[in-house]
Amino acid sequence: MSDTVRDMVRVTDPIERISHWLLAGSCLFCLFTGLGFMFRTWGFIPSLLGGLYALKWMHIFSGVVFGFALVHAYTMWRKDCAFEPDDAQWIKQGGGYLWKTSSLPPVYKYNAGQKLFFWFVVVFGVLIVLTGLVMWNPLAFPVAVARWSYALHALSALVIGSFFVVHLYLGTIGNPGTFQAMTTGWCSRAWCETHCPRWLADHYKKPE
């Protein structure tokens, strides 16, 4: 679908946007409540949400939502995020974000950085959900499994939390015109030519 009057292109469908925000919302809520458990001095977090006991159940509930959203996002985006040979070149050039570089290999739907983010979220997301399930009932598992679950849960939170900050920057002020991809779903044709030229050529004809 394209809007020739405003020269806009629809880059995401509603299911993609709902899935994205379900994943992002539950992830951020888990991160926020998780920091409330991690840092005892941050008492404002449990205070805001009705105390640590309430926080425990909210964290678990939100984690379950995250788990389902993750499975959905994985099945929906894994093809778009499969790596291709040109991705190595894109990474070598830092995506053109970090230093002056020659033209980047043209991107299909998602660039190599976005793909990397996706796969990091999938791998550490699965890890954080599985270890979270163990931590929900650690007495049902061998003690070594329970012990390492806590450590790996914290490691996954560290990785996902740090990548989230990159994602937030690049999805908003770092790339003007991008945020709409996850709100209205419409981005300008020029934006598509910059960020996903091969996908644009495949799906939409330039208006005569």
């Binding site: 991690m38 005892r40 002056k100 020659s102 007495l139 390492w148 989230f164 790339n175 015109g177 020029a190």
Partner: protein, 265 residues
């Protein structure tokens, strides 16, 4: 000001396994009994429970020479100085008292069960009905009033004593010097020193469910000393780099034509 650190010394060579301490503990802490099944031992209940904070373990043991012995050990919280349970507790429900012991503010406990797997001695027990953790607090309220813990008071043979830390460690070594060669002191050499110590008649390895070299698990140290601070350092560093990128390189603006050779982004 820090009050006197106490140590409870359990002399297994004087224990007759009368289980008076088990009963006294239940009585003072108002813990009910649970129905159990006989599994071929006088040890009852079979293990520590949310409502059994101390337990006499009955162990049939044959040493290298084939000498048969019955080993009795009063199990319960060891009150570590480097307490893994306190390190992992998110609510501060588990805490060190002025006596160096590990007490539990149950109203703050959220039943997360992190302490259960963190404990190198497998002591904390979870009660599903209350969604909270239970364990020995070395009768904190009694110590506070200048009283001995219930188990100490109940012991008819003097196997359980309590006193100031230094004096008790000294007493432990004096007692072991009078016993035969196998007897050992257990508790002062690891996890910063425990506030419950044993005089064991055999090598520690001979006892069931007693770790020879207990320590705060490596997973707990990685989690709390590395991953925890790096969650903030990582997210903060990335946010700082993003801010710098915005100030130095500026946002990545959209361009109409890509086929223009070199371009500054």
């Amino acid at each position: 000001m820090k009050k006197t650190e106490y140590i409870k010394l359990i002399d297994t060579t004087r224990c007759t396994a009368c289980r008076g301490c088990q009963v006294a503990c239940k009585q003072w802490n108002e813990m009910p009994a649970s129905r159990t099944r006989n599994f071929g031992s006088y040890q009852n209940p079979p293990d520590l429970q949310w409502n059994t904070w101390t337990l006499i373990r009955f162990q049939e043991y044959a040493d290298k020479n084939g000498d048969f012995k019955w080993l009795f050990r009063k199990d319960g919280c060891m009150h570590c100085t480097e307490a893994a349970c306190i390190k992992v507790c998110p609510s501060g429900a588990l805490y060190h008292t002025d006596y160096g012991t590990v007490a539990l503010n149950r109203s703050a406990c959220i039943g997360c069960k992190a302490c259960v797997s963190a404990c190198p001695f497998d002591i904390p027990r979870y009660n599903q009905a209350t969604d909270k953790i239970y364990k020995c607090d070395l009768c904190y309220t009694r110590l506070h009033e200048g009283q001995k813990p219930a188990c100490v008071l109940s012991c008819p043979t003097g196997a359980i004593t309590i006193g100031e830390k230094k004096a008790m460690i000294e007493a432990a070594y004096n007692r072991v010097a009078k016993l035969d060669g196998k007897a050992t002191v257990y508790g002062d050499k690891f996890v910063g020193g425990t506030h419950v110590m044993y005089i064991l008649s055999e090598n520690p390895a001979a006892y069931d469910k007693l770790p020879s070299n207990p320590k705060v698990p490596a997973s707990v140290i990685l989690w709390k000393n590395l991953f925890k601070p790096f969650t903030l350092i990582g997210m903060g560093a990335v946010a700082g780099m993003a801010a710098l990128h915005y100030l130095i390189k500026g946002p990545h603006e959209v361009h109409e034509k890509k086929e223009g050779g070199e371009h500054d982004v």
